[in-house]
Amino acid sequence: MKKKLLVVALITVLATGMLFAQGTKEQAGSQGPLEITFWSLFTGGDGEFFDAMVKEFNASQDQIVMKNDMVKFDNYYTKLTTALAAKTAPDVVVIHQGNLLNYVPSGSLLPLDSYFDAATLNDFQAAPLDACKFDGKLYSIPFDVHPIVMYYNKDLMAAAGITKVPQSAQEIIDASLAVKKATGKWGTAIDNTTGVYKAYTLTRMFISMLAQQGGSLLTDDASAPNFNNAYGEKALVWMQDLVHKYQVNPTELDYDAAMNTFKLGDAAFYFNGVWATGTLEQQAGLNFGAAPLPPIMGGQAAWAGSHTLAIPVQKNQDPARVEAAVTFIKWMTSHGEMWAKAGHIPTRKSVAQKDAMKALPYRADYAAAAAFALPTPRTPAWEEIYGTLSDKLEYAVTKNQNPKAALADMDKTVRDIIASY
């Protein structure tokens, strides 16, 4: 009995120690490298490429050790927001450009203008960098741009006798019908049903096609919806027709299924962000090409996201840690060719010139897309608009809802959402 008690006591003491352990913090003022922390939302394939970069950064110098902790995408912002509220966020974080407005007005992010000289900033492409500026101040640094692009299956196109990558709305329909007739496979794979992810692809296509006609999803000041018109109707009807009128796109297709359908060679044209490249090129026997989003509705425009790197405001901001964070951001952005392996387009002009970058297949084919990438509308309501529109478009496309009714409903919903912020 005594022995038992002793063991229990011992375990309790040990466990208590571990329970309250907060991990190794760097000792202030001591020698050795400075450890700084980073939270990323990259898991799976993206995560592996990213970890490799961090590892190389740590090996490249002996002043700073970057510690990368990853959180699955769905829950990342929940965690980040609570940490920022308590001012316990790490030294560097990744934030999508479209989410910046949820963090900038509250003063949660450090303005970066004084930490980057003009020469460095000039090396960035103007559009993604401008998207990180609010009221003239720079709050984050674009790490990549990831526009929606079109992947095409060369074998299926050849089997259907198509020699040119289709560009217009009608060409895509014709090519899809030809593929279906010749091979029995699907023409397009645009996911239209919520699975692991919402049917964001529909919203991304919708935004792109509005802009291709000279329209936009929201008004310029992001204060009201702007799609309940002929532009919106044309874009919506095209997506509905692929599924219902021409039946070249599967219905009840979720994100994973769309990716797998194209991966297995069951669809000729696949629309997704550039991040799919990394996965697709690992598929044995898939003979595919990648192209910027075609001018389906006439003009050139494509929805794009952008991962940006930002420095949170801390309770006691340590200048040495901020400097280290800046060094890390500079290193990461100037080694964009490593991140491009995951499919993303780097943001620095000097990276585009690197031989390592030019040697990567596919990326060069769609790098041009960055030029007509659409920035996310500037409204704190964006996340809710994006999610809600995806649900509504999912319904409209899978149910072949009357397009006018669908757009009117979406218009009202978006107005209500904007009014609630």
């Binding site: 309790t12 466990a15 571990m18 329970l19 309250f20 352990a21 907060q22 991990g23 922390t37 939270w39 939302l41 990259f42 898991t43 799976g44 394939g45 993206d46 995560g47 592996e48 510690k67 990368n68 902790d69 990853m70 959180v71 699955k72 995408f73 829950n75 929940t78 965690k79 609570t82 940490a83 509220a85 308590a86 316990t88 790490p90 692991v196 994100y255 994973d256 990716m259 797998n260 991966k263 297995l264 069951d266 962000g273 991040w275 799919a276 996965t279 598929q283 044995a284």
Partner: protein, 273 residues
């Protein structure tokens, strides 16, 4: 009677049910032994075409899965111990001591079961932050130690212990504390076992709270850790199934060891309702 065809049919039906109930778990293991290209494939095969432990190797070598399990153990054991220490006395009080406000207090405690946890997250986070406890395993477990269902189970059991035993002890001059520790606790072992299991399972399976309160990847609990097996874009089923299988091993062992007690214990709570 022995060859009653009705009975034989019933037995076959039961075997079928057993198979159906176990099948999902078998499928988890089978999937985890496949290569991903044999999972997402047009030529479906039931058994792995090229059986492989690659997914397991990957889970063990490229993640902190063993640390995560260790953390989960610490969190679950901690939650379990504290739950016992705090639940048993109050359950005894509810069952045997007629103090003022007892019923009100009892329902106030049971009401805790009905609270959606989401509403507590932000206040709890700010609270733990003010204690300087963010990124500790203690923070991951403390909100999980107040387990109203545990009190309910223990109370039901203690009510069944005959009052004569206590009265006799009282006459001998024992105090309440002595009665509680020498009579009630030993007699209530099976109900205690249930609470042990439930609090262990409860803490082990917790997801959202540890995710938010723990920052270092190496300090994640296993449920949080394996969630990261899901890629940023797209799902690798074979890898996820391997992760799920590994993450479940401790619970399975725990169950095998305590199986009899769990079932006997939960049962006691159902007796009086």
């Amino acid at each position: 009677m022995r060859h009653n065809p009705k009975k034989i049919l019933l037995r076959i039906f039961e075997l079928l049910i057993i198979f159906i109930w176990v099948f999902p778990l078998i499928w988890m293991v089978i999937t985890s032994l496949k290569l991903e290209q044999d999972v997402i494939t047009k030529t479906f095969t039931f058994w792995p075409r090229n059986p492989t432990f690659a997914n397991y190797t990957k889970a063990f070598t490229s993640t902190y899965i063993l640390n995560w399990m260790g953390n989960s153990f610490i969190v679950s054991l901690g939650a379990m111990l504290i739950t016992l220490v705090v639940d048993a006395p109050i359950a005894y009080a509810f069952a045997k001591i007629k103090f003022r406000g007892r019923n009100v207090l009892f329902w106030a405690v049971m009401g805790g079961m009905m609270v959606p946890f989401q509403v507590l997250i932000v206040p709890l986070y700010l609270q733990f932050n003010s204690y300087g406890m963010i990124n500790t395993l203690a923070a991951a477990l403390l909100p999980r130690v107040a387990l109203p269902i545990g009190i309910f189970i223990l109370k039901q059991f203690y009510e069944g212990i005959p009052i004569d035993l206590e009265e006799a002890a009282f006459i001998d001059g024992s105090s309440r504390y002595r009665i509680f520790s020498k009579i009630i606790l030993p007699l209530g072992q099976s109900a205690m076992a249930t609470v042990i299991i439930l609090s262990f399972i409860n803490a082990w399976n917790d997801f959202l709270w540890p995710l938010i309160v723990i920052n270092d990847t190496i300090k994640y609990t296993i449920t949080v850790g394996i969630a990261n097996f899901q890629g940023t874009h797209g799902t690798q089923y074979s890898l996820i199934m391997a992760g799920a299988a590994v993450a479940s091993i401790p619970q399975i062992l725990f169950y095998i060891f305590f199986r009899k007690k769990i079932i006997a214990g939960i049962a006691t709570s159902g007796l009086k309702g």
